[in-house]
């Protein structure tokens, strides 16, 4: 486990508890941040803190992901004693996804009716949903500078309510109608339910976070990823604006079978 502090000249990116909150591929967010700095010639170091490890206080960006209930509880206990809140007060940026988002709010329920205090870094409360889990593709419009649209995949049981002034964006259905708030942002802290990982699906959000800690970012030669990202965007744009065409009719299938 790497617990060395990042070199003073490098941007420190702390991946918090990937062993506990790593079920949904969110460790990719740290990879994306580091690479987008590297591609601009800015040195960075990713520090992974595993369960039982000490959270470094001097990183510039902290990343939390989604995980299972027990693991979330463990992560909360470790974060309460750690210096994440101190680092955030100092101006470090934090991206918290899914279970990570829930536990940096003011409270969340482990079981229905059993609320407990979170880290209080965002003014949101999470209750245990009684209905089916929220699972699927999500499109969000946001006022974050240079971001505009966020896409991702959600998969959670909790329902998060929050201070409306801190909302990250509005969920949009395929017709563009408002389907309620998504996520929260306060200062340099962003919470969201979007996996993907969210920074891989939305490089504009990665750059927004990076600007918060390194200031102006130079241009990035993203010809490598641009085509692939455009392909993905088109795929999801198709998917959410038009239902899939019905597969071949009985007659056409029969015809196909006959021609075999």
């Amino acid at each position: 486990m790497a617990e060395r502090p990042p070199a003073s000249s490098a941007v420190g990116i702390c991946l918090l508890f990937p062993d506990l909150l790593g079920t949904y591929g969110d460790r990719g967010n740290a990879t994306v941040l580091a690479r987008r700095l590297e591609w601009r010639g800015i040195p960075s170091a990713v520090v992974e803190v595993h369960a039982g490890g000490t959270i470094p206080l001097d990183c510039d960006l902290y990343v939390l992901g989604g995980g299972e209930d027990f693991a979330q509880q463990h992560a909360l206990e470790q974060l309460r004693g750690g210096g994440l809140a101190t680092a955030v007060e100092r101006g470090a940026a934090l991206l918290a996804v899914c279970a990570g988002y829930q536990l940096i709010g003011s409270s969340y329920e482990v079981e229905p009716g059993q609320a407990q205090g979170g880290l209080g870094l965002l003014d949101v409360e999470t209750v245990r949903g009684l209905g089916p889990r929220q699972v699927g593709e999500v499109t969000v419009t946001t006022d974050l500078e240079g971001v505009e649209v966020l896409r991702g995949y959600e998969n959670h049981a909790g329902i998060t309510h929050g201070g409306d002034e801190d909302v990250l964006g509005r969920r949009r259905d395929p017709e563009g109608r408002d389907r309620g708030p998504e996520g929260a942002v306060r200062g340099n802290v962003v919470g969201t339910y979007l996996h993907g990982p969210v920074l891989a699906r939305n490089p504009s959000l990665a750059d927004w976070l990076l600007r918060r800690v390194v200031g102006t970012l130079g241009p990035l030669d993203d010809r490598g990823t641009a085509a692939a990202e455009a392909h993905e965007r088109a795929l999801h744009a198709d998917r959410i604006t038009a239902p899939p065409a019905p597969s071949g009719s009985w007659r056409s299938r029969l015809g196909r079978a006959g021609s075999r």
Partner: protein, 412 residues
């Protein structure tokens, strides 16, 4: 159509309803096949279950069944176990309707090995299996199946409700150990690369302490049972002594799968050496590892559908330098969320010729870019296979992509 009743050792004739269900299932399956609407399996099973909802239990109880479930390796293990026992098997169609049609289709076999999706283990246990082989639980299709701990709790419940005669289970996997509880069990230690779903105790949430394959909870008393069967390289050591396995199937994880099959077959009285010999001949498990033709050469088909599977596959690929086509789909049977690609250390493919393909070639390409792996992108895997230079290539594909590639190979 003449419909034989299922064999029934107790001599009770099957009910009219069961006979009707079997007839309806067979007829529908036949119609489905000849009209080209499907493979015939699932739709026939669906209808049969509508006619007789207890069909799986009724037909299953009338013969010797063994069930195999887990996130990874269930198709291969089912096939190996059936081979070792000389029994028939049902692989591939492993949901409820698939099980029903498999049982209908093989009314004449006295012993059947059933591959079972993690979600329908309870249904399969209603066949009163002699042995249940429980391989592993790790993250896979989180949108459809859910988190490993959720599956574990479901398994815990169904195993208590309908305990099989014997459990053959993975001692190295804490989720499996907790799910099995105190049932009579032969414990297998297969080894394995993937640990990312066993950092916390599935029982109490405490931290798990790992030491090699051994593990214990730092808080409660859940700990790894002493294994009865241990895999070390290609040697499987059990109550029968030590036995070297030489499989045609590649990869360390297939030695693990074979160890489960060997153990289950042994528990029914099969001679381990004879089982090993039979399993050594297996080269094709529903198209896995099969070499298919492509323009200018051949392609080895590999199924890779989740991070644990990829962890093993990257070990297997580490020795070769052949070009690799990675085909990623995100249809229902693949899991619609491809975030898991970021749990796979594709950085290890450095130096290989890599093509990103499939419905989600874009997502795969983004992942490879961030991994620093030069690659090309071609959405259609058949075109990718046609464009690569002559010779041997590897293709690693998610479930639906794998099925398409296999079918195209068979047609070609």
């Amino acid at each position: 159509m003449v419909v034989p009743g299922p064999p029934d050792p107790s001599g009770t004739p099957p009910s009219v309803r069961t006979r009707l269900a079997i007839a309806a299932g067979r007829l529908t399956g036949w119609v489905s096949r000849v009209t080209g609407r499907g493979e015939g399996g699932v739709i026939g099973g669906k209808l049969a279950l509508l006619v007789d909802p207890d069909l799986i239990a009724t037909i299953g109880e009338a013969r010797t069944t063994l069930v195999v479930s887990g996130t990874n390796g269930k198709t291969t293990t089912t096939h190996l176990l059936a081979t070792a026992l000389g029994a028939s098997s049902s692989t591939g169609a492993n949901l409820r309707s698939g099980l029903a049609s498999a049982l209908i289709a093989r009314l004449d076999s006295a012993t059947m090995v059933l591959e079972v999706d993690e979600m329908v283990l309870g249904e399969a246990l209603s066949t009163s299996p002699r042995v249940a082989v429980l391989l592993n639980l790790s993250r896979d299709q989180l949108d459809r199946v859910g988190e490993p701990n959720i599956i574990m709790k479901r398994w815990q419940r169904v195993l208590q409700e309908a305990p099989p005669g014997l459990v053959v289970a993975n001692a190295d996997d804490p989720q499996i150990v907790l799910a099995v509880g105190g049932l009579p069990t032969t414990w297998v230690s297969p080894g394995g690369m993937w640990r990312e779903d066993s950092h916390t105790c599935p029982a109490c949430g405490g931290l798990l302490v790992h030491d090699g394959r051994a593990w214990e909870c730092s808080t409660c008393d859940l700990t790894r049972p002493v294994p009865d069967v241990v895999v070390d390289g290609t040697v499987v050591t059990g109550p029968w002594g030590s036995l070297g396995l030489s499989l045609a199937l590649p990869g360390a994880y297939n030695i693990g799968n074979a160890a489960f099959a060997l153990t289950a077959a042994w528990s029914l009285g099969a001679d381990p050496a004879a089982s090993a010999e039979a399993m050594a001949q297996v080269t094709d498990v529903l198209g896995r590892y099969v070499q298919r033709r492509r323009p200018g050469g051949t392609a080895r088909l590999l199924l890779a559908k989740n991070p644990a599977g990829w962890a093993e596959l990257l070990e297997l690929l580490a020795d070769g330098r052949d070009p690799l086509v990675i085909v990623i789909n995100s249809r229902i049977a693949d899991g619609q969320d491809v975030s898991w690609l970021w749990d796979v250390p594709f950085e290890r493919l450095q130096g290989r010729t890599v093509v990103a393909s499939g419905d989600r070639c874009g997502a795969m390409s983004v992942r490879l870019h961030y991994a620093g792996i030069a690659h090309s992108v071609e959405p259609d895997p058949e075109v990718a296979l046609a464009c690569l230079p002559p010779g041997q290539v590897d293709v690693a594909a998610t479930y639906t992509a794998f099925s398409d590639l296999r079918r195209a190979g068979a047609d070609g």
